[in-house]
Point group: C2
Chain length 207, copies 2
């Protein structure tokens, strides 16, 4: 529906908002009008926090995670184990995995996954620098923690081949039925895999 | 859930986004990371369009609608009928009503409705300036187009009393069942009112 805006500034802001994923023009207008009802300072802070982030954002030179410094706080954290590396697709996955508190090694952010459909090839990802990190010899294990999609698996195999010549253990996060899932409703492929890759009871519960 | 962010700039931006209505921290992070994946310019434009709007926004001195100029484009539009005024709560309602193309008069934006629960009294709204506009004598009809809530009706009655001394017709938008509604599922109050306020068939369809 064509909508006439009483102000060009308003229209601009609504246009920008509605470019965001999952935000239509109606929601965009609602959000912008909400910001306008706030103190000017609050709303200006909102806009400026975004501009500032995008202008000043840095990526860690080692792991390519978002960072405020050249080397991120994780890579320079002496309490983390530098001999084990978790390879993830993006920044978000670092946060999610680190939140589990089950991993205290370092990360390597690929910045995407191989996806010929979207025109993303291995050269677009931080794979070369991963190889360099492994080459340096300090790393004993690389855990591949990518999505279990076709693209994720393509990327897994590509990295596996690239790292095969080096003396490093390559593992992949466990695939099986999710905690809380009912067997009855689990898809056959997942269920089949979870039977093939069954774990010793005593291992599973660390008895 | 406590979430550690790899960058303060990122955390700031997520905080700002999650202050918006209906946007939680997960969505906020998704939106911010989406912006980060864009060209820097696109993302900076986003932020700046908001800051700019909030810093430079003006409100029409006559109708209080958002405007780029001191007098908005509607109030200065010679093709609109200045003798009929539609009173609305906010900017959004101006857009929605104008979009119906059933009204070609001018608007008056109250900037809210009387709501003692939220601490909004008559003095917080643009009611005094509405009385001034009516006093000037050019206006023949005032249409009240507020929500059919308790707050809306309180405001309707307040404005009605304020305008009663002047020689102006005061009308209120029709209340009845919505177009497309089924009688069976219409609430009793609406249905009762729509029977009381029934319209001549020939009037309803302008036969």
């Amino acid at each position: 529906m064509y909508q006439k805006y009483p102000s060009l500034l308003l229209e601009d802001a609504v246009n920008e908002f509605s470019k965001l994923p999952g935000i239509g023009r109606k929601t965009a207008l609602r959000l912008v009008l909400h910001l306008l009802r706030q103190e000017t300072e609050t709303a200006v802070n909102f806009g400026e926090s975004i501009s500032k982030l995008c202008k000043e954002v840095k990526y860690c030179q080692v792991c390519h995670n978002i960072s405020d410094t050249d080397i991120c706080s994780m890579c320079s954290d002496k309490d983390r184990d530098p001999s084990i590396l978790c390879v993830v697709e993006n920044v978000k996955e670092v946060m999610v995995i680190d939140n589990t508190r089950q991993f205290r090694g370092l990360y390597h952010v690929l910045g995407g996954i191989i996806s010929p459909m979207d025109g993303v090839g291995p050269a677009d990802l931080n794979i070369e620098s991963l190889v360099e990190r492994v080459k340096s010899g300090e790393i004993k294990e690389v855990i591949l923690a990518l999505s279990t999609t076709m693209e994720g698996d393509t990327t897994n195999f590509y990295i596996f081949r690239k790292l095969a010549p080096y003396n490093v253990k390559i593992s992949i996060i466990a695939r099986g039925i999710s905690i809380g899932d009912e067997i009855e409703y689990t898809d056959e492929i997942t269920l089949g895999r979870s039977i093939l890759n069954r774990t010793l009871f005593t291992d599973a519960f660390k008895v």
